[in-house]
């Protein structure tokens, strides 16, 4: 199993470790609920060094990325981050990514840990089909990544950096210093709170973790594991690859229509997605909240009017609202209108209502 450079730090903190996408990662330290609440009210620090980073540079980097991603790079400026996805020709999703523009000829893609090899092989395959003057490099081993998230994140980071955090807007980044170490400071995250993702060298990850904890612990900063990372993103209805997104799910089905720029001249998957759009998608991702006690889980059946209409893709007990919440992929006909739903939990139908997303 692969380990991040902070593996021993997590063990020394008493974290419970689990396998995630081939990595040995902390699932919790003090407890999922306490960590979740800390991020919503104060701040949390996550080791997300398992995420992958690719660099694409050169005169044709823009054209290559316009072709392989579904969002439109033409609106992106230097220092801006864009949420996007890679799709197969049939419209199925290879991965969801964030794309960083350093300059018109230099970009970084941040990809899911479990998909690093698959994504890189896919991009190489597309590269082979298209002649262009650019370089594609897998730089995942060159970066560690810490996510500092929560309403106090900016105060904590502000004390340690000369970066102008007031003018660093959401989904923008800069190259700056934190605790005397140079790194990429990105105002992004996966919790729905204000926060930062810090890309540093593996050597700097330990000192950076320590500096942030020392600065932040008096303000409520705690280490946060993958357990709370999942409940935090689910309350905000952020998709997770392997759950809401996969090779057999279209971005248009998974609430990613807003990043699917069908008006772009050409991109991988465009034809299939145009067709799906004009014909109407078969399924749709919706939010369900249980109106009776229970905890919805992935793969539980969703029923409406006595009929199986779909499946839960992610579910949990919301630590913020203390209600069972679920994202579910259901038949389009059932998703629209005022349908009444239930989720089958251990053979019993538990009532659920469709709610507007995000949950929190």
């Amino acid at each position: 199993m692969k380990k991040t450079v902070l593996n021993q730090v997590h063990r020394d903190l008493g974290a419970r470790m689990v396998e995630f996408g081939g990595w040995d990662m902390p699932v919790q330290y003090a407890g999922v609920i306490a960590e979740h609440i800390a991020v919503r009210s104060d701040a949390g620090l996550f080791d997300v060094s398992h995420m992958g980073e690719f660099e694409v540079s050169g005169p044709d980097a823009f054209a290559f990325l316009q072709f392989v991603t579904i969002n439109d790079l033409s609106s992106l400026v230097d220092g801006q981050v864009q949420y996007s996805a890679l799709c197969y020709p049939d419209g199925g999703i290879v991965d969801d990514i964030t794309l960083y523009r350093f300059g018109v000829e230099k970009y970084m893609l941040c990809v899911n840990a479990a998909n690093i090899d698959k994504d890189f092989a896919w991009l190489q395959e597309l590269e082979a089909q298209r002649n262009g003057n650019y370089q594609l490099i897998n730089r995942s081993v060159d970066f560690a990544q810490l996510a500092l998230q929560g309403p106090k994140a900016a105060t904590i980071l502000g004390a340690l950096t000369s970066a102008d955090l007031i003018s660093l807007k959401t989904y923008h980044f800069c190259e700056s210093d934190v605790a005397g170490m140079s790194m990429i400071v990105s105002r992004t995250g996966y919790t729905g709170e204000d926060g930062f993702e810090l890309y540093c060298t593996p050597e700097d990850a330990g000192p950076l973790w320590q500096a942030l904890m020392e600065q932040g612990s008096s303000q409520g900063l705690v280490p946060v594991g993958l357990g709370a990372r999942d409940t935090l993103r689910l309350e905000k209805a952020y998709a997770l690859y392997g759950h809401e997104l996969s090779a057999t799910i279209l971005p248009l089905e998974a609430r990613l229509g807003w990043i699917t720029k069908l008006g772009k001249v050409d991109f991988c998957g465009r034809e299939a997605l145009l067709k799906a759009k004009s014909g109407g998608v078969r399924r749709q991702l919706i939010g369900l909240r249980l109106t009776q006690p229970g905890v919805p889980r992935e793969q539980y059946i969703v029923r409406s009017a006595g009929r199986d209409v779909g499946q839960v893709t992610s579910g949990t007990m919301s630590p913020s609202s203390r209600q069972g919440i679920a994202l579910a992929l259901v038949d389009t006909a059932a998703a629209s209108g005022d349908a009444v739903f239930s989720i089958v939990i251990r053979g019993r139908e538990v009532s659920a209502e469709k709610v507007k997303l995000p949950f929190i």
């Binding site: 419970r16 609920i33 357990g227 949990t316 007990m317």
Partner: protein, 127 residues
């Protein structure tokens, strides 16, 4: 971690407290720690029969669903009706506020097949 001497334990990490001709049942400190934050509990009803080594209830943490097995056969005479509203009692007080059900065993001798505190402790160290 705490394993009271007066309790008996199962390999599935339930505990049993014998009280006259009744026994109380819950899950051990080790079990609650492994589960993490308990957020949901499903218990049988008074009058239900439970069978030895068969699931009688469910405990759910944020991440996982776990069946709870009956350490001995009998009839449910009382359930902890506070638990559905405060499932976290299983984490904070696994042997007291976190008790789950009280049963009248069919055969008290089934208690003899369970582990005492030191045997249970040795068992979980091996696991």
């Amino acid at each position: 971690m705490d394993f009271p001497e007066e309790l008996k334990y199962t390999e599935d990490h339930e505990w049993v407290l014998s009280e006259g001709d009744l026994v109380s049942i819950g899950i051990s400190d080790f079990a609650q720690d492994q589960l993490g934050d308990v957020v949901f509990v499903e218990l049988p009803e008074v009058g239900d029969k439970v069978e030895i080594s068969k699931a009688f209830g469910v405990v759910e943490s944020v991440k996982a669903v776990s069946d709870i097995y009956a350490p001995l056969a009998g009839e449910v005479v009382e359930v902890n009706s506070d638990l559905p509203d405060s499932p976290e009692s299983i984490n904070t007080s696994p042997y007291e506020d976190g008790w789950m059900i009280r049963i009248k065993p069919d055969d008290m001798a089934e208690l003899d097949g369970l582990m005492d505190a030191s045997a249970y402790q040795a068992f979980i160290e091996q696991e």
